[in-house]
């Protein structure tokens, strides 16, 4: 009898040990970012942010006892690579959600696949076209160019700058901005008297700026991501153009100031509150999240975070919060995300079945660069 009890006890102990070792299974999420190549400035902070969050979560007990694992893949800004990465994550790694990609083009390339496979995709790219028309499984956390342009138009109107020139980079970001400007400026009462473009590898924009100067605008609006806009600022300074220069949220990073040097002074642009976190009011809902993120990022990586990393923060937190409530079933995560209100880094999100971006133009504040530093305009 005693022997039987001992054997039973041992077996029971073994059983407990066995199940607790394999007990709580890991929650797996996938991430696709442009970590190498020309768009590394977007992908690297996004990847760093995701890894930071995963580490934090696992240190504090995971998600309801489950370990969180993020499988980060690089698409190098290439649509086919993004496609293959998504396939791998969904089919081989069996993730329950995908964060990213970093760019509009790559996001569109994987959106159809994620939708068909019924895995939630939360993109960190700017293009409004990613979620218009809404696909049930596709979301995005970066602010839309629709709202950025709206914010800029508000500013122009408020300062009586109704004859402007518009200059954009010939990439998806720039042209999407141009598209929005064409759509929204008539209603806002702003007349665009010159439309010009420049390639993202152009060496100088003097020709375009000379043409613009000839038309005598009250302000120049420049829409693009680095390094083009920095060159525009420099060339304008070299040509001694004193026209007010307003840019897009694509320059909301230190790199712009570094590249443009003195020419950055006076440039005005819409940005998420992250870059002016020390100036926002105490009762602002985003303040706590922003300060927390900035501190944690600085502590781990020794440098300030930027808006791109912020988009990744929002995306991962959306998934994590959903998983805390419903576990790792992709369909349930999707339903949960669609209902979420999140005070995030890019803004205060309010998702709904008809709005998979969840942000409005109040996700932006207008910022001006003064002496190499950002100052919020009220």
């Amino acid at each position: 009898m005693k022997r039987a009890l001992i054997v039973l006890g041992a077996a029971a102990l073994l059983a407990v040990a066995w199940t607790s070792a394999y007990g709580a299974e890991t929650y797996k999420i996938g991430a696709i970012f442009s970590i190498t190549g020309a768009n590394a400035p977007l992908g690297v902070p996004e990847k760093d942010t995701v890894e930071m969050i995963v580490e934090q979560i696992n240190k504090t007990g995971g998600i309801n006892g489950h370990k969180l694992e993020a499988i980060v893949m690089d698409d190098a800004g290439d649509e086919t690579k993004a496609n293959l990465a998504a396939k791998k994550l969904i089919e081989s790694d069996k993730v329950c959600a995908i964060v990213g990609p970093s760019l509009t083009g790559t996001s569109l390339a994987v959106a159809a696949g994620a939708q068909a496979a019924r895995i939630p995709l939360i993109s960190c790219a700017a293009g409004a076209v990613i979620v218009t028309p809404t696909k049930p499984y596709v979301f995005k956390t970066a602010q839309s160019d629709i709202h950025a342009v709206a914010k800029v138009l508000d500013y122009l109107k408020a300062h009586d700058l109704t004859r402007v020139a518009f200059l954009n980079v010939t990439n998806a970001f720039g042209k999407s901005g141009k598209d929005q400007m064409q759509k929204q400026s008539p209603r806002a009462g702003i007349r665009v008297i010159a439309w010009d473009e420049f390639g993202d590898k152009d060496t100088n924009m003097t020709a375009q700026l000379t043409r613009i100067r000839g038309k005598n605008p009250q302000a120049v609006v420049c829409w693009g991501t680095n390094p083009g806009p920095a060159l525009v600022a420099r060339d304008m300074k070299a040509l001694k153009m004193k026209t007010p220069l307003i840019m897009s949220h694509g320059i909301a990073n230190k790199k712009f100031i570094e590249l443009a040097g003195d020419a950055a002074d006076g440039v005005i642009f819409p940005a998420g509150r992250l870059i002016v976190v020390n100036e926002i009011a105490r009762n602002e809902p985003q303040r706590k999240a922003l300060l927390g993120y900035a501190a944690a990022f600085k502590k781990k990586y020794g440098r300030d975070p930027d808006t791109f990393g912020g988009h990744a923060w929002d995306a991962v937190m959306l998934v994590v919060r959903a998983m805390r409530k419903v576990g790792d079933d992709p369909a349930k995560i999707r339903d949960e995300v669609e209902k979420t209100r999140l005070v995030g880094i890019s803004g205060v999100f309010a998702f709904s079945p008809t709005d998979h971006n969840g942000l409005g133009k109040d996700a932006f504040v207008m910022v001006q660069i003064k002496n190499g530093k950002w100052k919020m305009l009220t």
């Binding site: 190098a76 086919t80 496609n83 293959l84 089919e91 569109l108 159809a112 042209k175 598209d179 473009e197």
Partner: protein
């Protein structure tokens, strides 16, 4: 083949060229018909999907298949007509965009848009090739370089037609077997896989036949010596143009398959970088036989995927591998493999 005549006369020179040629069909130690090998490939590809339990590998193979189709066409141009195209991505893009535009904006069915895309691209190739292929030398290379970049810029800027950088979304999928197949991801991948590889195998057989035919032997003669070939009564520029247009048609078909598989077309996949990748595929695989295209497309696509995990080093590795293969195995991997095999067999026989 038969012994050479006494040298000196241009005709015998030309004949010697044709016999020895730049084409060596003794791949894997065999001569004559290629179709049994294509059949073997077809059977292998047919069985392959059932060895994997997830569709990631099938997707990789689909992309390899699509690239193979373009590479086979480019191989004909480079290996047989001896010309280089540094802008072939443009023809892939033209095929993709035309079929996507016709099916989304005009709502036409795929069995109409795909042939239309191939036809339009072939016409454009004819217009580009005609003026330059009349001349000797590498003018086609430069013309295709320029044309490829112009095409990319037009894709990006002609918003009205191509939707510019935002691209064309919701391109209808390939669905010859009905909507259920097209809408279930696993079935869609499988179905596309078979369509792509069936097309690739058919085109391989077609290309091998062209190579073997009288026309094909004239091609090889052209590559060897344009002067000699014309003394044989071969219409040199006519053939060069024909091959160029054919290679563009192959590329256009590949583009259509891409568009209706990924269901999204934007300008980025058709940059100059991709044109270079295509040339690399053909050259690495080996220009001497149509198999080079398959080997090259497979190698480059798989290499890209494998190197991805090495992160920052993948570009360096790619460049190094390219230079090494070109320096030590300029005839390409297929030829190097076949030489190796022959050396082994010869070694064994001598023992």
């Amino acid at each position: 083949m038969s012994a050479r005549e006494s040298p000196a006369s241009p005709t015998s020179e030309a004949l010697a060229q044709v016999e020895k040629g730049h084409l060596d069909r003794r791949v894997l130690g065999l001569s004559r018909p290629t179709w049994p090998f294509v059949l073997a490939l077809a059977v292998a590809m047919a069985i392959l999907p059932f060895c994997f339990n997830n569709t990631y590998y099938i997707t990789v193979l689909i992309f390899i298949g699509i690239n193979t189709i373009t590479a086979v066409g480019l191989n004909l141009l480079m290996g047989y007509a001896g010309q280089v195209s540094l802008g072939h991505a443009a023809f892939v893009g033209l095929g993709a965009y035309t079929s996507a535009i016709l099916s989304t904006k005009l709502g036409l069915p795929l069995w109409a848009t795909i042939p239309a895309a191939v036809a339009l691209t072939s016409l454009i190739a004819y217009l580009v090739g005609m003026p330059t292929l009349r001349l000797q030398g590498h003018y086609l290379a430069m013309a295709t370089l320029g044309f490829g970049i112009i095409a990319y810029i037009v894709f990006k800027q002609w918003d009205l037609v191509t939707s510019g950088t935002s691209g064309i979304v919701d391109v209808p999928p390939l669905s010859p077997f009905g909507r259920t197949y097209a809408e279930t991801p696993r079935l869609f991948d499988l179905q596309t896989y078979y369509i792509v590889w069936a097309a690739a195998c058919l085109l391989l057989v077609l290309s091998a036949n062209i190579v073997d035919s009288r026309v094909g032997r004239a091609f090889r003669a052209v590559h060897g010596s344009e002067v000699a070939a014309s003394t044989l009564g071969v219409n040199v520029s006519g053939f060069k143009i024909q091959v160029f247009v054919l290679s563009a048609a192959y590329a256009a078909l590949a583009g259509c398959l891409y568009a209706h598989y990924v269901k999204f077309v934007n300008p980025e996949p058709f940059r100059f970088t991709f044109s270079i990748e295509l040339v690399v595929m053909v050259v690495i695989g080996g220009m001497a036989s149509v198999w080079g295209a398959v080997v090259g497309a497979g190698t480059i696509t798989i290499l890209s995927e494998l190197l991805r995990s090495v992160g920052d080093y993948d570009v360096i590795a790619f460049g190094v591998i390219l230079m090494v293969i070109m320096t030590f195995m300029p005839q390409g991997l297929t030829r190097a493999a076949s030489d190796l095999l022959q050396a082994i067999l010869r070694g064994r026989r001598n023992r």
